[in-house]
Amino acid sequence: MAEITLIEGLRQGMDEELERDERVFIVGEDVGQRGGVFRATEGLYEKYGEDRIIDSPLAEDSIVGIGIGTALYGMRPICEIQFADFIYPAFNQIVSEAARMCYRSAGEWTVPMVIRVPYGGGIGGGLYHSQSVEAFFAHVPGLKVVVPSTPYDAKGLIKSSVRDPGPVIFLEPKRGYRLIRGEVPEDEEVLVPIGPARISRTGTDLSVFAYGMMHHYCLEAAERVAQEGINAEVIDLRTLKPVDRQTILASVAKTGRALIVHEDNLTGGYGAEIAAILAEEAFGDLDAPVRRLAGPDVPAMPYSHPFESWFMPDADRIAKAILELAAF
């Protein structure tokens, strides 16, 4: 088995789907000749040509709108939004058109498309190249929202997303593109279904829920607190919509304590939904209040390095939160 990076897993997944199905194509800013600003599509232009790896104007609403039109008419677009921060011009297309098409036509039309969105901080990107946007889209029925945190899941989930009959918002933790490495089998097809969460570390004392880069920091924190005798269970949610309620509830039924970690700011963030599920459906299982550790409620991730590290939860702060919760 080969060890590859998260972005390589992603690229392999797209390559295989392009190879498998000629309805699949990629459209976005600099995805072709340049190979993508993060190099996620490197080599694909040379392999599949300009008709399938399409460089678009710098116009996100058109990238998504074009994608919807082609998807309605039988194609399988992968639309790349260069940075999550740039997705807002396309918000109307995603929410008003892509998410509603199946519903408004009473099931007659579908929009099988993937919108790839590199998101999150930790790269010094500042106010307009660092944001997390999952809460906006997880709120919208008709969309699926996926966040891989490992090369295996990046590959397996992008392939499942391409094959999904509806629109999928595919959020990529860009700080982890080259930082996160992992084994991915070369001689078998990797497919990870949309929906199920993954228990990445089993434990008995409390449950830690996270996704994307935060999942890795949670694992790191869990190893640290293990030295102090606290045995944390860590769950990588992987799919935020539809969320895997069963795995969440089963874990808390076992541990009685829940910590939710995300780098998006706290208020109205995705963690609130997990907290609400636990409040409504696991009240009797809880031995402590549900705890959220999230980015601060400031308008955007500020630029300077100290600002950025104060903004993003890290292993230290997660370990501290775990210990506090365990001691409750």
């Binding site: 709108g65 039109g69 029925p141």
Partner: protein, 329 residues
């Protein structure tokens, strides 16, 4: 007008009568819709096509089955001209389970993909990139369809319009951009909202061939549409057709129309596309007054039966609320 007369001679009588029937049907449908709205049977918003009938009927009389059609929210006439039966339109307006979108869409979102009619869109300009996408898919698949994208003058002031026109030129997409310039974007006159009064000038900015025609004469629209569609089909590149028309009613039902004089509306009513066409058919000897009266009675009957069908239809079942949220559910 000389050109229109030539067109009359070259069109067979059957097609002329079909065109007249369709325009009269749309008019009658809209009158009935207004009536049903006043009775409280249609809720929400209702944007009537009265006055603009020649645009959809003229344009779509020359489309081929493989050509795709998208339009904005003033879509009843377009839906009929694309071949949706009037009873399914009225059932949708009444929110019934038998409606063309099973009661989920309503007035502004009539559609039937089997007829290659991809619907009305309620967000102004939002469907222009979709049209470009459908055209891109045709091009990719090597299929011969042209995408006909209709929108109002108001949509030409929004970013989507400019992005979509630009893209269609850069990527050589087979799209006919058709602006129905009814001279008001909701309650604001074109000259108060658009930097140029002739909308076709905006196409010039993208190097796109274009023309501006009278939208009150169905045969002129038909002739211009035939040429424009021919251009797109032959070259595989876009064309921009501005059709100048006028809506006789307000933007939507309940619009007090403070933004225009009654005299202006009356003046335009003199150019009523149905009256003009009727006179034309009689003057050229194609049909007698009696012939057309019989057709008008047929239209009345058709709409009456459609209303009966719609009123007798069931409401959607409660479980349908949760159906079709996802394609696989």
């Amino acid at each position: 007008m000389a050109e229109a007369n030539v067109a009359v001679k070259t069109l067979d009588k059957k097609e002329l009568l079909r065109l007249y029937h369709e325009m009269a049907l749309v008019r009658r449908l809209e009158e009935e819709a207004a009536h049903l709205y006043q009775q409280g049977k249609i809720g929400g918003f209702l944007h009537l096509y009265i006055g603009q009938e020649a645009v959809a009927s003229g344009l779509l009389s020359v489309r081929r089955p493989e050509d795709h059609v998208l339009t904005a929210y003033r879509d009843h006439g377009v839906a009929i001209a694309c071949g949706i039966e009037v009873k399914y339109v009225i059932a949708e307006l009444l929110g019934k389970a038998t409606g063309v979108s099973k009661g989920k869409g309503g007035s502004m979102h009539l559609a039937d993909v089997r007829l290659n009619y991809w619907g009305g869109y309620a967000i102004v300009g939002s469907h222009l990139p979709l049209a470009a996408g459908i055209a891109l898919a045709d091009k990719y698949k090597g299929e011969p369809g042209v995408t006909i994208c209709m929108f109002g003058d108001g949509a030409t002031n929004i970013g989507y319009f400019h992005e979509a026109l630009n893209l269609s030129m850069v990527w050589d997409l087979p799209v006919l951009w058709l602006c129905e310039n009814n001279q008001y974007g909701m309650g604001t006159a074109v000259e108060r909202a658009s930097a140029v009064e002739e909308i076709r000038q905006k196409a010039e900015g993208y190097g796109m061939p274009n023309s501006r025609i009278n939208g009150m004469d169905v045969l002129e629209v038909r002739g211009a549409a035939e040429e424009a569609l021919g251009y797109v089909r032959e070259n595989g590149t876009p064309y921009f057709l501005e059709v100048v028309t006028y809506r006789f009613q307000g933007h939507s039902i309940g619009d007090p129309e403070r933004y225009r004089d009654k005299e202006e509306v009356d003046r335009w009513r003199e150019a009523d596309p149905i009256k003009i066409f009727r006179k034309h058919l009689i003057d050229t000897g194609a049909f007698s007054v009696d012939d057309l009266s019989i057709e008008e009675e047929r239209v009345d009957q058709e709409v009456a039966e459609a209303v009966e069908f719609a009123e007798a239809s069931p409401d959607p079942p409660p479980e349908a609320l949760y159906e079709n949220i996802y394609a696989d559910s």
